[in-house]
């Protein structure tokens, strides 16, 4: 029954007034945005940022599914007699499903300065569809195989039209100690992934250079780079009151690669404009409050987003403390300011941003459910996805039980 409903939705027959035989209008802003939504940079950033965020400390494995609805709106033609759009142009929503997988295995533990060594694997698969709405929730089933077997699938993209997918992966090792922690790995795009973190003062740098073996670390090969201070716990580092919480202050360069067919004779410098941002966050104030502020540094310096979050106690697992068992929640509200971007068909302006997360922690596993709209990080990757609604399901398994 449910499968039949999904198939009906996928074929666009009836429930959502879709068109059973449709074709996108190539070359329009919506079509270009849909093409750009499924690009290698997104997969690479997905794998790298996922490895940093989720494959640290005592994680053994993580599976993470995102569905972002209405990333772009693409003009289509319809040639289907039973559709209300037969013989007409109409707008078809374009959705994206991303699957991230992370696995870690111990090599040794209990070395000097509480050090340990692990090997890890992280992959990211990004799929785009015009399946219309809830049918997108079936896509993660198809993404599981390339997520597990990304080195076999390689970096070959099924990159035809807008129903496309891209894959990237990282295989490497992580060393962790009280003094400093490293993650280093080889990426599917023949690149180098590196993360260096000093936990006590939160100092870190993290990034990926693609094709580093062939070209070296050039700005053109930068998939992304970020660095600064993240989660500096004032109680741990300076002996201040717990209520002060933790401070993050870091910068990030995220190239907004574009893959238009029509830019062969465009100046080289205009082909990739990194989005450079400065992030300031204070979390765990009075254990339950977070605030954040992001500024865009280049390409029209501006305040990019501000937000306030309220969450249950122990939401952020602070240095040297236990991850609490049971139910946890997080709600965030803020505003995002998007600059006008005619290249993307984006008018710009202020957008409300909301996010709600629920976490269930049980012994050695954790389930996380999220729903959000105008999430700043989604808009950094997909600036044309304003007012896009997204859902996320994440399952984590830990090396040790509570």
């Amino acid at each position: 029954m449910i499968w039949g409903l999904l198939v009906a939705l996928a074929q666009g027959q009836g429930l959502f007034d879709g068109c059973g035989n449709h074709a996108p209008v190539a070359g329009t802003a919506g079509y270009t945005n849909a093409r750009n939504a499924v690009r290698t940079t997104v997969s690479t950033y997905g794998a790298g940022s996922f490895a940093r965020r989720r494959l640290r400390k005592n994680t053994a494995g993580v599976m993470d599914w995102h569905a972002v609805f209405n990333v772009a709106r693409v003009p289509h033609t319809c040639d289907f007699g039973e559709s209300v759009y037969d013989g007409q142009f109409y707008m078809q929503p374009f959705d994206v499903a991303a699957t991230n997988l992370g696995l870690r295995a111990p090599i040794f533990s209990d070395g000097p300065a509480n050090s340990n060594l692990r090997v890890f694997y992280a992959s990211s698969v990004v799929t785009g569809t015009t399946w219309a709405g809830p049918a997108l929730l079936a896509v993660p089933m198809f993404n599981i195989y390339p997520a597990f077997a990304a080195p076999v699938v390689g970096r070959a993209n099924a990159y035809v039209g807008i129903s496309a997918y891209t894959v990237d992966w990282i295989g490497g090792a992580s060393f962790r100690s009280d003094v400093v922690s490293f993650q280093a790995g080889y990426t599917g795009n023949r690149g180098l992934y590196l993360d260096i973190t000093q936990d006590r003062f939160g100092l870190f740098t993290n990034g990926i250079f693609q094709e580093i073996v062939r070209d070296g670390p050039t700005p053109e090969n930068l998939a992304y780079l970020m660095g600064g201070v993240q989660h500096l716990d004032h109680a741990d580092a300076f002996g201040l009151d717990d209520k002060v919480g933790r401070t993050s202050l870091f910068a990030r360069a995220l190239p907004q690669e574009r893959q238009d067919e029509g830019e062969e004779d465009a100046p080289e410098a205009e082909r990739a404009k990194p989005l450079r941002t400065l992030h300031i966050e204070q979390d765990s104030m009075w254990e339950k409050w977070d605030v954040n502020l992001t500024g865009q540094l280049l390409g029209g310096a501006r305040l990019r987003d501000v937000g306030v979050a309220f969450h249950s106690e122990g939401w952020h697992v602070r240095q040297g403390r236990r991850n609490l068992e049971g139910d946890k929640f997080y709600v965030r509200a803020g505003m995002v300011s998007l600059p006008p971007q005619p290249l993307f068909g984006v008018d710009g302006g202020l957008l409300p941003s909301v996010k709600a997360v629920y976490v269930k922690r049980l012994d050695d596993r954790e389930l996380k459910l999220s729903a959000y709209m105008n999430e700043p990080e989604v808009l950094d990757l997909y600036p044309y996805a304003y007012n896009a609604f997204a859902v996320n399901l994440e399952m984590t398994f830990f090396l040790e039980s509570l």
């Binding site: 142009f89 109409y90 707008m91 959705d95 465009a266």
Partner: protein, 116 residues
């Protein structure tokens, strides 16, 4: 949930004209490196021209092209940088690159395009 995930919807009558404006803006930014100039040309076209409602796909045509509502935008999106420099701020010159442009939009009452 259904409202949030979005559904297929009719073409906004303004969409083909917005596509033409975005094509001019995008090509301007790509060829000149000047994003603000691209934005100014987008706004000038939207202010200075009116969109003709042409949601129907011409008979016998299954993909965009020919003389349909999007044909003009598709031509302008790929116009050579030499022609971009030649047309400059003259939007009528841009629209002369394809006969389909005059089928998609017409001049509104505003005479001044506002392009600096």
């Amino acid at each position: 949930m259904v409202l949030l995930v979005g559904c297929p919807r009719p073409l906004d009558p303004e969409q083909p004209c917005e596509e033409i404006a975005y094509a001019i803006g995008a090509r301007t930014e790509e060829c000149t490196g000047d994003g603000e100039l691209g934005e100014a040309r987008v706004q000038a076209l939207l202010d200075g021209y009116e969109c003709l409602d042409r949601a129907e796909v011409p008979e016998g045509q299954s993909e965009s092209g020919g003389d349909d509502a999007f044909a003009c935008a598709l031509v302008l999106r790929d116009v050579a940088c030499e022609l971009v420099a030649e047309a400059g701020d003259d939007l009528d010159a841009w629209l002369s690159f394809s006969p389909s442009c005059r089928l998609a939009l017409g001049r509104s009452g505003v005479a001044d395009t506002g392009v600096p």
